[in-house]
Assembly symmetry: C2
Homo-oligomer: 267 residues x 2
């Protein structure tokens, strides 16, 4: 059984919509069940069957649409919306009725809490709808985000100079702090808001590139960086300590001064 | 204009489905437009109109369903699914066709990366679908999660002793590390997996309690803890440095040894 098939079956179980439930959905939508090929299934069943069919998209167009969406809904929606809406518009109803607006919640690392960059959270949600194997895509995107100077390709329409910075972290808080250091601007400045719009553009473009690569079987998922791999050698699930779960780079939070103060062995 | 009305209008703009688009959706679903009251709108429009109607739920039942869901889809789905499915089942089609299975992506702080606890990410997504003002709910839930010893009310069916621990953070990685310290168990142990299922139960119960409180206008959103408020006094958006965006508690990552090494003023 392929992983894609496996995931569809898994999700069919999760959704808990059996034959009777689907018949109810079909009746409520005024469309009777259509036995035969998958294309003939009642429209509403298509919505909850994962992954949705994906066809190659244009990375540059996604970036520009993400930049345009950002001021209206923040970073998570800015990445989720162009990618999933493009797929939905190609597929038609019921996909186009998905409640896209729910992904405003991820702005500022979830309602301003500074946890993962909302652009990443939005891409991960999009991957989960559109890919049979979202985990590899998420890891490839997150590793790229930690290491690259972003925004990498400023979209058309910037009002301020683009200042790329390496976040060194997938967390919104750390990403914005790194950019504030590089730019000399404040976290609540209009330049920072525009940077997060442009960053959403870079993340949307990379997410589309990765989706396209997976669709053509050319996806490469990078290994953890060397320093983090060394930490996980002891602390990770397979290490002798085994007290850490995660793939985030360790360096921004766990510093040499902490090691010295805690008696941590020399690294 | 109320914030609820404002959000609906905002989302209607975001979804980009105008009158013509909705007519197309209705035709595709076999249901003609029904002018008049909102209840008479075509079913597919209801799906993308936020928030979905919410009616009080039972917190204990949500906890138990979250615990039962966890082994099949991880922490994010475990919290999102029982809350939103209960609402969807009361509302009927098209709500029941929502692709619930997409929220497997948040497990382990987004595909194992250790960013926000997936139970919190799932609750935030549920709030965004079901609440006219999700931001207050998210802040109330996240502040509670940082400070409480969790799992607080072990669900029926635990195989191992319940070991509550204060995470001191909304991040999955820090939450699991705190529990490993308290329990003496490894991050990849079956006890840890069960703890995350029970924790998802606690988060689902709290999320429902908060949704119910908001619906009855009794929601209270706690202020940031005193130490974090002191940090944000200088570093936050209104401070003289203004180089930090976020509400996460600072202490787990920014330690006295870091302050000493960096020449940070005494705190």
């Amino acid at each position: 059984m392929s992983e894609a098939t496996d995931r569809r079956r898994f999700v069919a179980t999760l959704t808990g919509i059996g034959v009777a439930g689907l018949a109810g959905l079909a009746a409520a939508s005024g469309v009777g069940p259509q036995p035969g090929s998958p294309q003939d299934q009642p429209p509403l069943e298509r919505l909850c069957r994962l992954p949705w069919p994906y066809r190659e998209q244009d990375a540059g167009a996604a970036a520009q649409r993400a930049f345009a969406t950002y001021p209206r809904g923040g970073c998570m929606l800015a990445v989720f919306d162009p990618i999933v809406r493009t797929a939905a518009e190609r597929l038609g109803a019921p996909y186009t009725a998905f409640p896209f607006g729910m992904f405003t919640y991820g702005a500022g690392g979830v309602a301003g809490w500074g946890t993962p960059c909302g652009a990443l959270n939005g891409a991960a949600a999009a991957f989960s709808l559109l890919s049979p194997q979202p985990t590899g895509l998420i890891s490839a995107l997150f590793a790229w985000y930690e290491r690259e100077a972003l925004p990498e390709a400023p979209p058309a329409g910037l009002r301020y100079p683009n200042v790329p910075a390496v976040a060194g972290s997938v967390l919104c808080h750390a990403s914005i702090a790194a950019w504030c250091r590089a730019s000399g601007k404040r976290s609540n400045s209009p330049e920072r808001a525009e940077r997060c719009g442009a960053l959403s553009g870079s993340v949307a473009a990379k997410a589309v590139t990765l989706l396209n690569a997976q669709a053509t079987r050319t996806l490469v998922v990078p290994a953890p960086d060397q320093a983090t791999a060394a930490c996980l050698g002891c602390h990770g699930a397979q290490g002798n300590l085994g007290n850490v779960a995660g793939r985030m780079t360790c360096a921004p939070c766990h510093t040499p001064s902490e090691f010295a103060a805690s008696g941590h062995p020399k690294v």
